[in-house]
Amino acid sequence: MAKKPAPEAPPAAPEIVRMRGVSKRFIVRQDNSLKERLVTLGRIGRKHRSDFWALRDIDLTIHAGTTVGLIGHNGSGKSTLLKVLGGIIDPTSGSAERRGRIAALLELGTGFHPDLTGRENVFLNAAILGLTRAETEARLDEILAFASIGDHIDTQVKFYSSGMFVRLAFAVAVHTDPDLLLVDEVLAVGDEAFQRKCMDKIRTFQQEGRTIVLVSHSLDQVVDLCDRTVLLNNGEVVFDGDPRDAVREFRGILETRRKAEVQAGGGAAAPQYLQWVDSALATPSAPGPDGELMAGTDLDIEFDLHCDAPKAGMILAIGIDSSRGQVAYSTTTRLLGVDLEPFTGTRRVRFRLEDCQFGPGKYFVHISVIDEIGVHLYDWPQAISFDMHDYRTSFGTVHIEPRFEIVDG
């Protein structure tokens, strides 16, 4: 995950994309047949449609050679923006211009026809992406080598495994010599070896001065690959700049939404949450400038525990997940050798995690109450969250102070 120093676009880099005041309105209709349309024609018809602004007044200039990430939650307009850029959707107002050769990395083999052989599909797909037959023939060996699917190339694509399918689709797209490559959520495909190959190819693209616009839900990938990240929320650009800052902003938005959802939509589930545990808090012992947890300091996780009736052999467990859902840490009272005395009523309890060394980013704490034979009496996923300070020296779920020196010569 080593990040090469961001190739700050040299001043000579020309603009490749210009968007001015781009807005896109979707009209959602409830009537879609000719009859219904005729029946509801005119003034009354307007009642049957509702407007939805997928993009509002977007200004965006992209210089050649940069890799731009588009992030935002589902429905924030990032895919629509990519489609306007790709010429698939016309903006309702504003202008979008681009130059140079464009290629889109399509979703899992769109444009592949299952009844054609791999070879035929290579030609078809390359043609779709703008190559002539002669150009495809010239690159065929390279494409086949990259996809490495061997003799299967002359088999109908419907007999391919999904991995082979994706490898071939990716191979074609990256061999079309694009100036501007649009990528929509497709880099997380194939096995690990192939993903590595894809990433290497993307980095080669970057070195060759190609421009990449990438829509991704994988925030780590965005931070890793992009020179610049645009955060969209409800069709508007709310942040444009350093990928790390954009990701932090985005996590903030997600957290606000999550809390709102728990408050608004938790109606049925909430009573169960409140039955055993509530008023959970995560408190850093020596918080940083934004109230975040600093490496090497302690974190207190406190909550109220309710018991309707005395329960023997009860176990409390906490787990800490990274924002990607990966388990970073967990512990239980049993592991600590603590026996909880049976009680009725409410007790406030605390786990103190000393000398925390989590990697940068947001973490979620979940709390469980387990009985003596291991049955989960109660789970509260993502009960609380905390942020870990970003020292900007490393990625990952652990914080380790890195040093570099030349040992010899």
Partner: protein, 299 residues
Amino acid sequence: MTAAHDRFRVLERQPFISTASDSTIRGVFRTSLEIVRRRDLLSLLVRRDLKSRYKDSALGVVWTLIRPLTQLVVYYVVLGKFLGAERGLPEFAIYIFSGLIAYGLFSEIVSSGTSSILNNAGLVKKVYLPRAIFPLASVGSALFNFAMQLVILVGATLLLGTFPLHADLWYALPGLALLLIYGYALGLLLAALNVYFRDIGYLVEVVLLLMLWASPIVYGWGFVRDAVGPSLLLEIYTDNPVTLAVLAFHKAFWIAGAESAYPEFLLMRIGVALVAGLIFIVFSQFVFARLQGNFAQEL
């Protein structure tokens, strides 16, 4: 970084183009040029359509022939023999078949053209292509099927000893042009409308069923003339571009009926219809260009 700098230098000299579809005269012209430039894609799309249609079937392409041949037998026996439609129409089988393949071409272009954008929804939604290429690909695959049927027709004339080696054979060309021009113009227009109103697809099937009877394919043009007399109605009937194309095909391939009734000024009528058809294509392209901007969200 030299590769990058070279790339930048080339890029710098390129003009910015708008990503939005352009329904001005220049935009439509540019799209047409783009399709010409991407003819490799067009031929691959045609081949894809043909291959996928007859995949895994034992008889494959033969099925393209079975349908019109079955129609031929039914019309020949029922209409020709039972109902006596073959009166005054020598070599009735040749007569029917030359009309049938003409109509078959038109009907296939229109019906597969109409559904072409919907059938390629996956591509239209994901990647930019000149979308008019899909109805055009329908023309290509219909032409292939037509060519197969034409071989059968010519083979049959050989067997019957009426091989159409005569001065009027060239009528086939303007006839074919009429079918292609009107078929494509309609296919293009309906393909765009079908995205917004899905009923169009069903409507087209019904209308195509009717139109078979609105041209002198299984009966003679003379029957109509005798029934309605020289009137505006006859003119309207005759100037239907499909009727003109069918008549042209009769002229070309139905040598036994050289003496039978044809409308006056057939060539002039065809010429006028061709010019009108070209205007129709331009109109369809403008409508298509206007409507295509929202395809991706309607699919």
